[in-house]
Symmetry: C2
Subunit: 203 residues, 2 copies
């Protein structure tokens, strides 16, 4: 999901801590992250970390929540913009054919965090919520496109489920295999789906 | 991916160990599995476990390899069967709308195992290989369908990538959220994709 500066509109200490968590996740992944290593990226007193968070997982879930809040406030669906362009731009971002190292490391850490969900309720609640929010975001784009007469009157919730599931699957595959996923192929076929299932015929 | 008796054509001890690993994974998940707990499910001497495998992860990777071998030898693509039926039956299995508890627990453990891949080369090699094998299986069905004149002459590798990515994503989402994924919706939209992208018009 879109990664951007999580520091917006937060108090400065909390923002610095979230930035440090992000840096430590990219460097060490979930498997090797520790409060100590987050502290190494944190320019303020380490005691502030323990003061606000009971442990590593509490801090990481707080980090994930911050990312969602940022996404919710910063990336609205624009009624005035062509929904097809909004959808393409979302897919361009999430199915980018190549990733720089930082983004790849961060995406890998997100896969590791997500895999805590089967045995950790706080992570499960987070990913349930984040899936719902990204589902709504995609469904909103589809609804806008239907209102704009660009998309056929499909069920936006159903179609959003397919797109979200494919996006989540692409992140899983690209972070857990040695380049075995062909992201351009996935994108090509999603574009074919959009063409034959979603777009109103122009003639 | 299909779960079935991994004991086929293996020696009895190894088969019992693979069965014990399966049982322990379903009961405890990766997060809480130990060699001791695998041993609890193993009817033979525990020393046989240590004799064959250096540790928990070596044993789990061996278990994953056994599952792949079983899949490769037991589930061929049948040239004589309607490719559309083969594809539907694969999707029926992998996108089953409900899962019994054992299958859900096993699928959750598989998500946890897969998330070891970003920092563990043996897991990454395994999932690279298993993705390739399932990709080839799906692409074979698509190629068969094209030869049978049922499917349009799409690029089977591209289309297989979309299907595999969506299947992997559905497993990830259903094991890491509190029922937030609507599997029937995903299936409905994949069927729509198959209809508009893949099937040859019958008129």
């Amino acid at each position: 999901m879109p990664v951007s500066d999580p520091s917006h509109e937060m108090n400065e200490t909390q923002a610095a801590l979230m930035r440090a968590t992000y840096e430590a996740l990219c460097k060490h992944g979930y498997a090797n992250i520790t409060i100590q290593r987050i502290g190494d990226e944190f320019p303020k007193s380490k005691s502030l970390i323990y003061q606000h968070h009971a442990g590593k997982d509490e801090l990481l879930v707080a980090f994930l929540e911050t990312m969602i809040e940022h996404f919710e406030t910063e990336i609205p669906v624009e009624d005035s913009i062509d929904a097809r362009e909004q959808l393409q731009s979302l897919l361009d971002h999430l199915l980018a054919p190549t990733l720089d190292e930082e983004r790849y490391e961060f995406m890998s850490a997100m896969t590791e965090l997500r895999a805590q969900a089967p045995h950790n309720e706080a992570y499960r609640n987070h990913f349930t919520k984040s899936d719902r929010i990204f589902h709504e975001h995609i469904a909103d784009i589809l609804r806008t496109g239907i209102e704009q007469g660009i998309f056929r009157s499909v069920d936006p919730d159903r179609t959003a489920e397919l797109l979200l599931t494919t996006i989540d699957g692409s992140m899983l595959r690209r972070t857990t295999t040695e380049g075995s996923v062909d992201i351009s192929a996935v994108r090509h076929e999603l574009d074919a789906f959009i063409q034959c299932r979603l777009l109103v015929d122009e003639n």
